[in-house]
Amino acid sequence: MSQKNRLQSGGRINRDQPMSFVYNGKNLQGFEGDTLASALLANGIDVVGRSFKYSRPRGIMAAGAEEPNAIMQLGSTEATQVPNVRATQQELFDGLVSGAVNGWPSVDTDLMSYVGKVGGKIMPPGFYYKTFMFPQNMWETYEKFIRKAAGLGRTSYETDPDLYDKVNQHCDVLVVGAGPAGLAAALTAARSGARVILADEQSEFGGSLLSSKETLDGAPADAWVSSTVDELGANKDVVLLPRSTVNGYHDHNFLTIHERCTDHIADKAPTGKARQRLHRVRAKWVVLATGAHERPLVFGNNDVPGCMVANAVSTYINRYGVVPGNELVLMTTNDGGYQAAFDWHEAGRKVIAIVDTRQSPKGACVAKAMDLGINVITGSAVIDVAGAKRVTGVSVAPISADGDMVTGSVTKLGADTVASSGGWSPVIHLAGHCGSRPVWNEEILGFLAGPTVEKRLTAGAANGEYTTAGAIAQGIEAAKTAIDALGKSAVDVVVPATEAIAQYPAMTLFHVPHVKRTALAPKQFVDYQNDVTAAGIELSCREGFESIEHVKRYTAMGFGTDQGKLGNINGMAITAKALGKTIPETGTTMFRPNYTPVTFGAIVGRDRGELFDPERFTAMHSWHVANGAKFEDVGQWKRPWYFPKAGETMQQSLDRECLATRESVGILDASTLGKIDIQGKDAREFLGRVYTNAWAKLAVGRCRYGLMCGEDGMVFDDGVTACLGDNHFIMTTTTGGAARVYEWLELYHQTEWPELEVYFNTVTDHWATMTISGPNSRKLIAELTDYDVSAENFGYMDWREMTVAGVPARVFRISFTGEMSFEINVQANFGLHVWEKLFEAGEKYNLTPYGTETMHILRAEKGFIIAGQDTDGSVHPYDLGMGWAVSQQKPFSFIGKRGMAREDCVRENRKQLVGLKTTDPNVVLPEGAQGVFDPKAPIPMPMVGHVTSSYWSANLGHSIAMGLVKGGLDRMGEKVYYPLADGRVIEAEICSPVFLDPAGERQNV
């Protein structure tokens, strides 16, 4: 079988460049310039899929994005599998491998088809809801079978080998669609000096002109197209985007364009090239020149392969040199449909008849058909089609002038192709994405874009203007409107001369009557992809669905990957008729992004793998990596979690790190703590307002711990702030809270207290911070500095400036471990140097690096909280037993003071943070476990709070934990029980959270 439907000449394909491709395992040939659909039709492939519900054979209906049936699985390798590609939009390339997604085990013999034969009795509308949702627990079983049988395509099981890209674009005018209106708009805007983006979903610009036999200024239409495109291409402020579908229209003229950069070359992009690119466009003005989709008519068995929309027939003949059959019957409600028959005739194939639904059409088209000797049957319709896998004939009958009933006897005609035209529907999907409702236009029998607040214009067929000259004129007008609004002066573009053909009025007809009533007539399909029939819509209306949105959901009309581009208007018309309303009264469903499916690759872009989320590194990161650290994600930071030695379990590492720190000296990279430089004469006052404790008397050279609460009185961050100068402080925050605290300080300063003279600057990244902690920490630092670090000169909670390992440093005597600690801060450029020098000097002290896990254990041994772990936004300082950190004497009502005085915050029995000591010292409570006072209480047991922190303490030789317990601070010594999911109940005693050195004798030295 070699391209039996290919014409010897004509079309925009290159017959010198044959291309081999595979369809359902068969090797076939097409030509450069083909789409997969045109190549399939050239090869006489009739069946390209099975319908979703009835499993009926389906053929190619259309030639563009509106195609409902020819949905393909592409990919020559497992890794390059792509599902749900419309064959009408996929350019053919040599080596393309495709298969129908619908149809199991094959499109030609289908297990499910018996369902379709028996028909709607088995699967009426609402079928899925009515049948498969009950019993609900069986849905998974049903779904598996249905999905496999229906086949929705599949993604790859391997990693996508391709690159995808995203790019941000800005322009004065974005023109969507490069048909006559779009080209004219782009040309006008470009000549007027605007920055223009012109995007079109097809491989070539030109739109309808690519398959038209019209002349412009006496020359073939494509001559005007190429001269226009050439001029646009030479303009540096014009971006031309072919193969680029504008898929989403978002607020404030933000549009997304899905460009398929290399999908037409191979199923894997050339090395280094992005396969697809998502353009994120901010346009000052948008001109929608998106054209129109021809509506097929709804008639009996209108889904048998060989049924097509009329315009698609012309496109295949004129653009691709393919006649998709031998004997054509054309049914039309309008003059425009005649062109398909003329093109068919001219291609040398037989036009059996033109069936015109109008009673007595007159005019140029009818006359031309007569002249060509074509049988024109007026006042009639094709009411039924014969054939299963291909049309074999049609039933034609006279119909009433209003199209409501068959009025005479049926005539049968032989034919293998039925083209139908019910008029055109402007493509206004994008116009509706921001919420604008389409408006019905009686003159064009279609919806037009509704009013909008966006700077959006429409032109050409998208605006209901179907003549080429008219479309060009509207494109020019739209561009001028935009140019004027942009304050530029518009340059005139002359509309080329075209031959105008007078049109005889079209007939309003969507649903062709049958001799039987709809429910009993052969299936009349409205939405091909979801098998929605006219009878199904009528049934849903009888069942009480009156809103078009409900009918849509009940029947699944418009829910396919084609979103009902061909069927929606017909469906609305049938709904309107069934409800006894007009189409505008019935209304239309909302369009939402995306217009056509977008691959996940394009959405993800470059944000994958190591670029999925930023990884933030400290100045010592390379050392941690070289020394085998396991990392923990803290926000975006990579923090060492622990430093395992060969053969160690995690617990062994932690035990070793904990013991070494308490026995000699450990070191922590604390650089990730948030650091905010605060300067100004009111800095101290500001601190007093945002911290719960007092700052008025903190002396230069001293540090203080503080709690921050929200206005609700709940703790949200904590940290140490040091007084660097009378008007100068440095605040530390939690690692995760840094950005939030910084913004929060600015919020209060900018909106509440702008009169306070203070500036905040984030210096988190500027300082490398390393904390040495343990009884030998003083000896260690003393070896690296000339400064007197004795307790007398440099006491607990002091900070001093000194040189450490040759680097100027600020050293803070603060401790999160309860051990004697020195927190060394140096400019981060010198952090690694100091870190390494500490290890050189620290070897004799067994200086041990530790990570966040050991830090957590050591602080928990001391009962120090971690904001965000031991607090959850519902605990205030008193709940934490930290009333000592609240100063009620401060003159200013600090943030949180009023909040924590609310009735609920001062009541009895609030959850309070306490220590928990398990009765069995070897059992470690799971964090998050819920406690109860009476483990024998009936279920549901009253829960009294959860475990917030829990560890094995190697230093103490038993487990330690902290948790919230109702009234816990008054329950010291009492028992609390933690029933676990595995049936165990862990008993613990409520105790002070300070497990080690309650007097602070280890740190305050």
Binding site: E615, R616, Q679, F830
Partner: protein
């Protein structure tokens, strides 16, 4: 403690040359010197890191008489027009916000500048050393704009983003201060902790244009 006894603490944070301390820029672990390729003339994007510079953030009300003092100390006019910058020799001053400028200069000149500001700026302002927390990426080449368009939502067209313009904005999933230093030359000030991520991003986004590393 000598320097901390006044209202504001400043410290010469740069080790003396006798201390034999090497500084490490945020990209030190990449070993840019080893992958520097001067011969790759075809590269569409050319990258280099200007690390270990001094960076100071000046905060001051634009209406304050201290602005004039600052200008005298700096020897150039502070850019008061939003999104503009000035450059003179080693000194660059970028507008960041109406009351904020980012000043870059050699790191060993930072302390002198801080000292002069503290001595001469009597009134409400702050000058904060952020030298360790930032680095500068220099980007040039005929595809530099194409690469940046993948990375930032800001409009980079010549008409909107002339030479000298500076913006603080989103860069990939991080942020950057972007300044145009020539027709096809840009400079990014990035935070130290994000430096590696942004470097990885630039490599990835430059792939189709070719990337060369310059010294």
């Amino acid at each position: 403690m000598s320097e901390t006894n006044s209202a504001v603490a400043i410290m010469n944070q740069v080790p003396g040359s006798d201390a034999d301390v090497r500084g490490e820029s945020p990209l030190h672990h990449v070993g840019l010197a080893d992958i520097t390729d001067q011969s790759n003339g075809d590269a569409g994007v050319v990258f280099s890191e200007a690390g270990l510079l001094g960076h100071l953030t000046l905060r001051c009300e634009p209406s304050s008489p201290l602005i004039a003092v600052a200008q005298t100390i700096l020897g150039i006019a502070l850019p008061l027009t939003p999104l503009t910058s000035v450059e003179q020799g080693d000194l660059v001053v970028r507008w960041i916000a109406p009351d904020e400028w980012l000043i870059s200069l050699p790191n060993d000149q930072v302390f002198d500048l801080e000292t002069r500001f503290r001595a001469e700026m009597n009134g409400h302002h702050s000058l904060v050393n952020g030298s360790g927390g930032m680095t500068v990426y220099k980007l040039r080449g005929r595809h530099v704009v194409d690469m940046l368009k993948k990375s930032t939502p800001v409009d980079l067209h010549d008409s909107e983003f002339p030479v000298g313009k500076v913006v603080s904005t989103v860069f990939a999933k991080s942020g950057a201060v972007i300044r145009r230093t020539g027709e096809s030359e840009f400079e990014l000030v990035v935070r130290r902790s994000f430096a590696d991520y942004i470097w990885l991003w630039i490599q990835d986004a430059s792939q189709e244009y070719g990337l060369a590393v310059a010294s």
